[in-house]
Amino acid sequence: VRRARLLDGVDVVDVSTAFAGPYAGKLLADLGARVIHVETGDRLDIMRGYPPFGAPEGPDRSGSFASINRNKLGITLNLKTAGGRDVMARLVCRADVLLENYTPRVLPSLGFPWEHLARLNPRLVYCTMPGFGSSGPHRDYRSYGPTLEGQSGLAFMTGYEGEPPLRMGCSYPDMVGGVTAAFAIVAALRRRARTGRGALIEVPQQQAAAALTGIAVVQWTLTGRESGRAGNAHPWFVPHGVYRCAGDDHWVAVVVRDDAAWTRLAPLLGLGPMTHAARCARRDEIDAALGRFAAAEDRDALARRLQALGIEAYPVRTALELARDAHLAARRFIEPIDHPTLGPRAYAGPPWRLAGIDTAPHTPAPRLGEHTEGVLAALGYTPAEIAQLRTEGALR
């Protein structure tokens, strides 16, 4: 999938680090925005040290960093120096979007409170994504994606029946915060197109994840029941689960959402017609029958057989299988990008296809400070001024 040019001409200054903020920047870059990732060499973005690695050493070896920062330009800037802050001010003056995920006090302490940013550029869409919020009793508390799984209510709902809560297999709130912020930013750009005014957008990451608890809060207030751990069982649909097949850790997911689908599945299990209420009452029996039915079967063949009967079924795939998947290959979900340090490597995403939209090839993630000189030159700095800033330590 090539890079879309929907956001052609949108300039984004991305001073975020780690996962959530850079994921927002990645999505905007994939949509065609010109995203400048501002880093500091004094304290490397932790993603530059995050596995997997595609080179033995150095700040440009991380595949995770390369994936989440593709299509961006990268500069290094020390905002603790006057020269660094001058560059930042010039960047902000020309930007459409400023994206950051510092704790709430950081940017104001560096001389960039919102009021100042809005004075520099009244058309600026400024997006801040604090963990808990820029205000409130927990504003100075630390959060990472995994802790927000708990703090948002998501971990409480994930786990085996009757057992403690479990984290998911990824730091889901990080990506949730990123895509939520990117959505809010483009929505604010639409308002700006209408009104000419920028916006102050705040996306507290705890809230971005808590917004995804589905019906849990409604259910608590309207039925008095919590949405606790239930394995793969669904509060309504039966059967709804994964069933072990022949092979190493091979499972097939099967769902019946209506009586018609049950009528097609039941004969395979040696069971008869059942209403929804009957299926709920006999859930364990149905799960056991499905388990016996699937146990000796080839996972992929079984999924195809059930699909052909109009029953929702699919193999439980690993990421490694997705990397080799024929359907995703036909959709060109995974495509190579040539990176000067990492070489040609395959990268996944984004999850959209946009017919009728201009596209461009992806560009590799920036090496540390790769575009500092070019970006500063475009901001009007002369080579002598850039050399002076470098001497002062402003471009570290």
């Binding site: 595949g63 919020g133 802790t147 998911m168 959209w352």
Partner: protein
């Protein structure tokens, strides 16, 4: 007057969305657009959107206006009841589409064709219409016709294989996350297409795959597959890299800790008064810490048994430990940080009564977007059809033919 001004301030004010969704991913996408001020019209079959028949129900009383799924996911819409299975109904649908900026659906290509909408003619007549399909597997590729909701999306997208105990069944994360993450990416792409349309560019056909949206948020599991040809195994809730990085039981509940550095890991032991472990060099290196996870975690679990979650949370944060409470729905509604933002939203619904729901995670210029309740079936048929140019006589005729309700 204040209301009108604030409506104009909403980012998507004036955006007209025709919502034909039947899956939660499409439904949540419509909710996101409505939260930002879009005018979202839901077209339902005459007997109602299928989620109206899905429980649980308010007060456990089955009723089409009491489905918790419908109340949550279809909040903020207008409802039109229309039989799109007949020529007259399709003509009404096309009239509604002509007055829209976005047509949002979750039909597979064959089902979209079977609907009988002339998509090419629609696009030609309305070149700025963004047509967005939010499907399980996308609109192209050999598996494009496979149906599926959240379980299928999370199985197909690699998230279940990463979640749970490696010795037991892969787990679906709670609360339809495959549907939510697809809806968020869809809403982003749709609004980006609209912004581009504002600039005069031709509109897009937006094709979103739930499988791909899930595969896009696996942290770095795709990168391990693509860089090292390696599958990341399920870790039974442990973070694959950070340690400690898991849910811990304590006296009255659970906390979750995720330490990214040696000082943070040491602080966990300082917190519970285990100075010997806090000073142990085993904590110095990330990989060494994790290799000793079982014995180190056992020490923490033994001491946490004397702590209440709330006390652990505040004391841990005081030492700079990234620690979070494991909130239930009830404790979410009591969280002082969320309360300070007014995040939990109070909803009044004529049939279901008053209840709480999660609110919007956005503040635009300091304000939380508003969102109306889910509509009663067909509550806005007359209003919406009138706006589309169908007068009272035309509507009555359609009603007698059983095309609208």
């Amino acid at each position: 007057v204040d209301r009108a001004v604030s409506d104009l301030e909403r980012p998507l004010a004036g955006l007209r969305v025709l919502d034909l969704t039947r899956e939660l991913r499409g439904a949540y996408c419509g909710r996101l657009l409505a939260e930002f001020g879009a005018d979202v019209v839901l077209v339902e079959p005459l007997d109602g959107n299928p989620w109206r028949a899905v429980g649980p129900f308010a007060d456990d009383t089955p009723h089409p206006e009491r489905s918790l799924f419908f109340l949550h996911y279809y909040a903020g819409r207008k409802s039109v009841a229309l039989d799109v299975g007949c020529a007259e109904g399709r003509a009404v649908l096309e009239a509604l589409a002509r007055g829209s900026d976005v047509l949002l659906h979750d039909l597979t290509p064959a089902r979209a064709t079977a609907l009988g909408l002339d998509w090419a003619a629609l696009a030609a007549a309305h070149p700025r219409l963004v047509i967005a399909a939010v499907t399980a597997f996308g609109e192209t590729g050999p598996e494009r016709e496979l149906p599926g909701g959240d379980l299928i999306a999370t199985a197909a997208g690699g998230l279940m294989a990463l979640t749970g105990d490696p010795a037991r069944a892969p787990l679906r994360p709670g609360g339809d996350q495959g549907e939510h993450i697809t809806a968020l990416h869809a809403a982003l792409a749709i609004v980006a297409a609209v912004v581009d349309g504002d600039a005069g560019a031709p509109a897009a056909r937006v094709d979103i795959s739930a499988q791909e949206a899930v595969a896009s948020v696996l942290e770095n599991a795709m990168e391990f597959a693509l860089f090292e040809d390696r599958a990341v195994a399920r870790q039974n809730g442990r973070h694959p890299i950070s340690w400690p990085g898991r849910v811990f039981p304590c006296r009255d509940g659970f906390v979750v800790i995720s330490c990214g550095s040696a000082p943070q890991a040491r602080a966990c032991f300082t917190l519970v008064g285990d100075q010997a472990t806090a000073a142990d060099p085993v904590l110095d290196d990330r990989d060494v810490r994790r290799a000793h996870a079982d014995q180190l975690e056992a020490r923490l679990i033994a001491r946490f048994a004397d702590w209440d979650a709330e006390a652990l949370f505040h004391a841990g944060q005081g030492l700079g430990i990234p620690i979070g409470l494991v909130h239930s729905a009830r404790s979410l509604t009591e969280d002082p940080q969320l309360a300070s933002y007014g995040f939990i939203r109070s909803v009044t619904h004529p049939e279901a009564g008053s209840y709480l729901d999660v609110g919007s995670p956005f503040r635009v210029d300091g304000r939380q977007p508003a969102l109306g309740p889910a509509p009663a079936l067909a509550a806005h048929t007359a209003e919406v059809l009138t706006a589309a140019g169908l007068d009272a006589d035309a509507r009555e005729c359609l009603r007698r033919q059983g095309v609208i309700q």
